[in-house]
């Protein structure tokens, strides 16, 4: 397939000896560049954590550790309470994912299929939040979370402070709504004639047909929480409840370098693993999102 599509340089040019030589030169150059720019920093981090504290501070540095220590990793695990912070992150990310799936899916289904009165106004209000950059509103959002209107409860130092704001994700909601809009009408109508209720239709007809979009939304939801820094920094002043991103920065001041680097590696593993497992879907999702706007 790829050989058939014509790109900037014609296959005929590439087939000539000079073209082939140029191609392989560029190819090798790009491989080296990618290895140096993107893989080497990661290698440096993973091996840096295995050097001794003296070796990591030594100039010129060693490319390969003289002695491989695992103590950096074990110390990070114990001294920085990584299990606790990783667990906090998992709870926050999983909850945000579940809340988004339930509430965004239900709302998107209602907007797409149930024709609520003022549905267009509501959709407009939701889409308008796409125009309002999220970070610029963190302070009033923080004040709201600190003292919810009417019920005067604080969501600070509570995972709900991550979960509920995560639902207000216009991008994911719109993605779901657009997908539901395109589902074949007759299938849904057939279910209705068979006497299925709306919830039943959503659960046993719409959702099973929406697996691709649910996958994309799930990945976006998990990654967003795991990578976020400013909002959890504001919400969790309580050290025991902080997710790993906040804890890393707070603890980075007074901890041995090798231990910190080891903790950074450990903090990266879940997302990198998620990426390597779902790379096809993630890359396809990003590429598709661009051309469809």
């Amino acid at each position: 397939m790829s050989s058939a599509t014509r790109t900037l340089i014609s296959p005929a040019t590439l087939a000539r000896p000079r073209g082939r030589a140029a191609y392989w030169t560029v190819f090798t150059g790009v491989v080296l560049l990618f290895a140096l720019a993107f893989l080497f920093p990661v290698y440096w981090m993973v091996t840096g954590a295995m050097k001794s504290p003296d070796e990591v501070a030594q100039t010129p540095p060693t490319v390969v550790p003289e002695h491989w220590h695992l103590s950096g990793y074990t110390d990070a695990w114990d001294l920085m309470q990584l299990p606790e912070h990783l667990w906090n992150t998992v709870v926050q990310a999983a909850g945000a994912w579940a809340f988004q799936l339930v509430f965004c899916t239900a709302a998107a289904y209602a907007l797409s299929r149930l024709k609520p009165a003022f549905g267009n106004v509501i959709l407009g209000g939701i889409l308008a939040t796409l125009m309002v950059p999220a970070q610029a509103l963190v302070v009033p959002k923080y004040l709201t979370a600190a003292d919810l209107p009417f019920i005067h409860t604080s969501l600070l130092n509570d995972p709900l402070g991550i979960w509920l704001p995560a639902v207000a994700n216009a991008f994911n909601l719109y993605l779901l709504k657009r997908f539901f809009d395109q589902l074949p009408r007759d299938v849904l109508e057939a279910a209705e004639i068979d006497g299925a209720g709306k919830l039943r239709i959503l659960w046993s007809v719409v959702l099973p047909m929406s697996r691709p979009v649910l996958g994309v939304v799930s990945i976006f939801a998990l990654v967003a929480v795991w990578q976020d820094f400013l909002w959890p920094l504001m919400v969790f002043s309580d050290t025991d409840k902080q997710p790993i991103s906040v804890a890393l920065v707070q603890l980075s001041q007074n901890i041995q370098l090798t231990v910190l680097i080891a903790a950074m590696v450990i903090a990266s593993i879940p997302m990198v693993a998620l990426f390597l497992v779902f790379q096809r879907h993630i890359i396809a999702g990003i590429s598709a999102g661009s051309t469809k706007g």
């Binding site: 191609y23 939701i126 509103l137 979370a145 999102g289």
Partner: protein, 319 residues
Amino acid sequence: MTKTAARRPAATAAVAVRQAPAPPPAGDRRRRRITDQVRAYGFLLGGLICFALFSWYPAIRAVVISFQKYTPGSSAEWVGTANFTRVLHDPEFSAAWRNTLTFTLLALLIGFAIPFVLALVLNELRHAKAFFRVVVYLPVMIPPVVSALLWKWFYDPGAGLANETLRFLHLPTSNWTNGTGTALISLVIVATWANMGGTVLIYLAALQSIPGELYEAAELDGANLLQRIRHVTIPQTRFVILMLMLLQIIATMQVFTEPFVITGGGPENATVTVLYLIYKYAFLYNDFGGACALSVMLLVLLGIFSAGYLRLTRSGEDG
């Protein structure tokens, strides 16, 4: 059976009274419409509450508090435009805006040309395609805090990798994040490294949608490589280029993690950004009025870019 049970309750009594003289079919239809609406709003409720609390209400509140003296716990006091004048006279204010705009501009210069050229080259390569895509996107999946800490270590004037590499190449070393002149660009490099993957992938997708015949026709007309890029590639991807440019401006104007983690705003305020200043006003000075005044200014500016982005994507969908 659950269906009939669910249709009966709520909201029907009032209708029944008002609709008493009407023939039964019409009343049935009306009753049904109301239960449909109740059900629709039942599905919407959770999402609506969250949007109201964490998107709509904060947007209004930012504007309201920007005209108030506000401390959590005590009652607010109207102060007119005092917050705005105070913020405007803060020497950090001009530094923060200057830094943010310089950051955005540098990020455009560095973070814009490089991914495009890289995508252009990658699109010509016929081997190891999946490998390149995974590797270029790898830094995006590393938590931003980790990449910031990683580069902080690279920039370390002592045993940091950046200066060690320069020494190895017999080049003069740099102060990186410790020099007032180099700190900002050092952060731009971090942000570009960390975020480039997404841009490259989107460009690649755009490049693949260019019909091959256009290149063939251009080549037959005697266009050389650069002319083909100029007259085929760039016009064909113009829409994506513009869209990504606006998205990048919006994202980089809200930069926070890199300066917060790597430089703490220093040296001498050389890397304080607007969002960082908002954070400082709220959490260091406890001045929420000032923080909201700053937020409103950022909001207005970014709103203009966002509106441009939305108009662009909509016109792209039509055409």
